[in-house]
Assembly symmetry: C2
């Protein structure tokens, strides 16, 4: 993906300029003048870009990222911030799509979504500045958290469904689904059109939290599977009810 | 659920009459006059109802069901049909919701959906009659299949996502998801508001196909899990790409 982006960045920049999505392609001079710098790369590339340009980021500049893991990223960015005199606050817009690239951009994507902020010890006024930008972009609100809590919950809410989708569509029944499927198939398989370069990095940089969630999930699937295999209606019904009550308690 | 329906059927009937959804509450006389009889009960209740009323179903009447399993149901219904002189064709509208009850009815639910027909040896003209009704109801088309193929594919497209949703929301992270979630969480957890009475019956009546799908799924999840746990980027990326290519080959 990174390669593909690089290769097509000329064409993408032209489209972004033509549609008015950006004012101009940025330069080192723009970084030098920036009050806030949004890094919208993959985690390792965020660190590499910052390290490479740290001499032109002015002291006091507020640097933030938009990537999906934080325990791996934040200590690295905070160390660079300390070394170079800028401020770092982690950020994660909870809005995405199963397709990527400039042609998939959508002016309504952020509407009603949540923006996660990970202060990492930054001054509160800087966190508030990012909150203000998020609200202006259409997000409905922000939540503040630690890198560790972020990664534990994101392993469940976002990473797990992506693993699931890729595992799910590998069933020999999948190619026969047309005419035999509706919302349930569509929902579970949706994000199987995964960007494997990005998600491989994200999964490996959140390895312990994600493996824990995967083991929890397969444990719960196996409980239900065993109740079905042994024909235990009472146990099965009770496990399904457990799921329903959790979902209903959330008002969903 | 069956109990709840019974208890509230008076109120439901009144609402259905008031909104014009039905012309009148049916009687034995209506069954006697029927050209087509749609059974919209759970599988065991479909069989019980038919057995109880088989003497008033006139010879040649076309009886069909709408339930989600067929290998268990079809031989029982076909035996009753033979015994009583009516015709049975299995049916399964591929349109549903994560909520149930009359208040959840939706005039657009069938639009664009597929209607599965399981002829079970019935004359072709009877299958065509049900197809014509399905198209009038707004379905976009029908597919014909055997009870066994129906159950194998439905185990994957419909039953598996319901097991998954109930297993997924049991993670200790689930109650903390607000502010940390978006479409992926919503999609995988949606059908956790399960009707456990109905699905317990459906799962147990499709036990072998469903257990096979569950084992296939946990096998594929475990492959991805092991690649993550061992930090094997190449294996992980290749497993995710496999999922993407399957999904893309389906044009989705």
């Amino acid at each position: 993906m990174a390669d593909r982006l690089q290769k097509h960045s000329g064409a993408v920049l032209r489209k972004a300029l033509e549609t008015g999505a950006i004012d101009r392609a940025g330069s080192e001079e723009d970084i030098r003048l920036a009050d806030i710098l949004y890094l919208c790369l993959y985690p390792q590339a965020d660190v590499d870009f910052t390290r490479e340009h740290r001499k032109v980021i002015r002291p006091g500049c507020l640097v933030t990222d938009t990537c999906g893991i934080k325990s791996w990223l934040c200590p690295r960015m905070t160390a660079l911030a300390k070394e170079s005199g800028f401020v770092f606050v982690g950020g994660h817009p909870m809005a995405g799509k199963e397709k990527n690239g400039f042609d998939q951009s959508d002016g309504t994507l952020f509407r009603g979504a949540s923006y996660i902020l990970v202060p990492c010890g930054a001054p509160h006024r800087d966190v508030e500045r990012l909150e203000a930008v998020a609200l202006k972009l259409g997000f409905s609100g922000t939540v503040e958290t630690t890198p560790e809590e972020h990664d534990r919950i994101i392993a469940f809410t976002s990473q797990l469904p992506h693993v699931l989708a890729c595992a799910y569509v590998q069933s020999p029944q999948c190619p026969k689904h047309r005419g035999f499927s509706a919302g349930s198939y569509r929902d579970v398989s949706r994000v199987a059109t995964i960007n494997e370069t990005m998600w491989t990095e994200l999964f490996l940089e959140n390895r312990s939290a994600l493996v824990k969630e995967l083991d929890t999930l397969t444990g719960h699937i196996t409980e239900i599977r065993d109740a079905i295999a042994s024909g235990n209606a009472e146990a099965l019904s009770s496990l399904l009810r457990k799921g329903r009550l959790i979902k209903e308690a959330l008002g969903e």
